[in-house]
Subunit: 473 residues, 2 copies
């Protein structure tokens, strides 16, 4: 493709995206595609002759769109908000166009330095102290794995330089609430701790970790000769946005020298609101903090913000220094390849820069407040409605609810009933919600926060849920 | 930003990229920026008011370009080719515009199914048998870590479900040639094996792993009661593109039940040439294979192709199944979140699809042949030239050379001399090469393969090296 065709197809694609975003609300939120249907539209053999990009671009509507579940749709209430602002789209375009590698400072100084700039902006925006330094990771899963690797090596006295986890030392243990995200256990397993050394600490009525149970679990492990290593505390759990008491956990972590990792993947964005900062009071005592600007904030996936108090330790765990990666500037600059798992690194800071200068902090704060207010409105509606139950507090933007037909007490039938309600709503294409279990109860999670979602859309999902429940009656 | 401004700035940015690519050859290859210079151009505080994206786009030339090392430059001969085709740029744009999540099939069926399509196309293109299934990872580093985690769990009988690596079992060991990429050792350390259990197997005169030394190292570990677990064989090492004998390694791996992971990060692209397939003969016996279409092939970073023979095993090591991620289609579809570390996944298959239909296999083969021919030409020039030494065979596109002034035998002075030659070339902006060590000798790696690089550019770097050597005389 020559530069002229790039201009032509590029303009066409920009317009296609603008059109797509403009008519997004008319499309079914969840893709109605059947398994295999999209794949069947593509040839089995790779293209021998080239020159067919114009055709591919022209066929996006036909080949791809029916297979898209629209995360930026105003009626997207599933999983978590995953907003990709139009400014962020342009940042990703600039990143791809430059095609620069940010693995070392020298391989594109701007990639490293703009990442330092935006990570420090984000640190200030959420109120983390200057003692923290940040790096972009692809996901909270990877950030949490990185944190647990750092914890493992700190507790084990850098056993990776010797026999690793195979040194026959006393087993190390990891703690998190029973409501912690699945990525915490996955990270502990991948890091080699073993499921037998992961403690699921009990929660209180608001689904927050109970510090006295954490203390008891640590005491039990110490008594058995094990080495408590790390605790992951959540600000905003996945199921219900529960808030673990960070300061109390930090006090315990400090006393027993555990690594404290704070997982605020979704909720971190709300920390740009002064009135929300109480939710993670004590976070300044953490060793590492992850939150995902690629969720609610609007910087497109992937952009997970990972801040640590001791980047020297992170670098020691993650660095490699073969001769072919050494540069004349080593020692004077940051080489972000030593701050994470992959060697190669995209210039992801561009999309953050574009997003932040486009929306600005004030407008972002207003949008987040709108979403919080919409969630409170829905919570009140649920509380007022006959036959509906709210299953958890609503400190943020997620409302956990279920329909309980009069007289029904059987959890099995209630579960099937609510799964069917969620399924009907999702299949209707009018809204998309996530069925989930909460301590054995089948619930429906309504997660508010797509940038396009206004009050009328929240009214819409509430009406759709009601209609689905009525249809079952 | 409204849709109209998006159109306007989007068109402007597409044109900026086209202009940038058109005048790329006039820019200094390696960024001349001083540490801190780019960062100093940005405010310390995040933007309070928004609406300043047009200004950011307008200032890209001034703020960002001076900090870019141009990986798509025709005189880029450093590290490895990292081509981002213009088609791939458009694919990334479409990916960002859709903003879809591919973590589960249901969260955007097209993301999963087009990934299956292009991974199967790539499998066919490089001649891997149908027994392999593929998934996109961010980097070879992550793919190799994933492979070693799979190996660890296979050898340990899924110890992650119990005490993990802390079960007191006999230590497991990992093998790779002394020329393997630093990411292999990093992966082994992160996976918990410990540096003491990583064996650097000696190489022959062509820098390829010596199978009899692998066999001996395994025998020694077995005799000591350790458990040989995995071997990483390289097709195209980083320093010299050496070719480990895959079939011989596979035979040993099968006999001792080691996981065989083949790292063809750079060289995989050359496997689209029938005349290159001998280089990894036996690869069909591997358990996992990684190569990076985001290097030489032209699909923009990040797009690492990871193929495994047993995706069920991969899924078992990597999967999580919390209630909030279950969908109605589970069991009938692939959920790629279970095939790697991160939960969230971008729709990276779009840029592969765009690139492959735009360039096509035939044109790609012609381009790779051109690069191989250019490398052979340079190797012959080096061999013919007085005062220059070639330090390794050139089976692919990397030429390892050094300047040896008449009579100089002192390795220290030779090292400083060649570091200075490379530094002069790099600082001149006329070409960019990588100084590196090969068994203690300071060499200069000339890695050919940027899409824009023609014979005249290779002649250019050769002339620049000569001029730098002359200037030192």
């Amino acid at each position: 493709m020559d530069h002229n065709e790039f201009r032509r197809l590029g303009h066409q694609l920009v317009d296609w995206i603008a059109d797509y975003r403009a008519r997004l609300g008319e499309l079914p939120v969840m893709s109605p595609a059947e398994p295999g249907a999209i794949r069947a539209r593509f040839p089995v053999e790779p293209p021998v002759e080239g020159g067919r990009l114009a055709e591919a671009v022209a066929r996006l509507d036909e080949l791809i769109l029916p297979g898209i579940t629209h995360w930026n749709h105003p009626a997207f209430f599933a999983y978590f908000p995953s907003n990709t602002s139009l400014a962020s789209v342009l940042g990703d375009l600039a990143c791809a166009g430059l095609g620069a590698q940010g693995m070392s400072w020298q391989t594109s100084p701007a990639a490293t330095e703009v990442e330092q700039v935006v990570m420090d902006w984000l640190r200030r925006m959420v109120g983390l102290p200057e003692t923290f330094q940040g790096v972009v990771q692809d996901s909270a899963s990877t950030s949490t794995l990185t944190a647990l690797l750092c914890a493992r090596e700190r507790t084990a006295g850098f056993a990776q330089e010797g026999a690793g986890l195979q040194d026959g030392g006393a087993p190390m243990t990891v703690y998190a609430s029973a409501q912690a995200h699945s990525s915490v256990e996955k990270a502990a397993l991948l890091a080699g701790f073993g499921r037998a050394h992961v403690r699921h600490v009990g929660v209180d009525a608001s689904f927050a970790l109970r510090p006295e149970l954490l203390e008891a679990a640590i005491a039990e492990d110490l008594a058995a000769g094990r080495r408590p290593c790390a605790v992951v505390a959540c600000t905003g759990t996945t199921a219900t946005t529960a808030l673990d008491p960070i300061a109390a956990v930090a006090e315990i972590a400090e006393r027993h020298r555990l690594w404290l990792h704070v997982d605020a993947a979704l909720a971190g964005t709300a920390m740009i609101l002064p009135e929300c900062r109480w939710m993670w009071a004590g976070v300044e005592r953490a060793d590492s903090v992850v939150w995902n600007p690629h969720k609610w904030m609007g910087i497109g996936f992937d952009f997970s913000a990972f801040h640590v108090r001791d980047p020297g330790h992170l670098g020691r765990v993650m660095s490699t220094n073969p001769s072919y990666l050494r540069t004349a500037q080593d020692g004077r600059v940051v080489n972000f390849r030593d701050w994470g798992i992959p060697l190669g690194r995209r210039f992801r800071a561009l999309k953050a820069w574009f997003h932040l200068v486009d929306e600005g902090v004030l407008a972002m704060q207003a949008r987040i407040r709108r979403d919080l207010e919409n969630a409170r409105w829905l919570a009140e509606e649920v509380d007022r409605a006959d036959g509906w139950e709210r299953l958890a507090p609503v400190p943020l933007q997620t409302v956990c609810l279920r329909h309980v037909p009069s007289g029904e007490r059987d959890e099995g039938r209630l579960g099937a009933h609510n799964l069917e309600i969620a399924g009907r709503v999702n299949r209707s294409g009018r809204a998309y919600v996530t069925p989930s279990l909460l301590e054995g109860k089948q619930m429906i999670r309504v997660s508010i926060g797509a940038t396009a979602t206004e009050r009328r859309d929240v009214e819409g999902v509430w009406a759709a849920l009601g209609a689905a429940a009525d249809a079952r009656a």
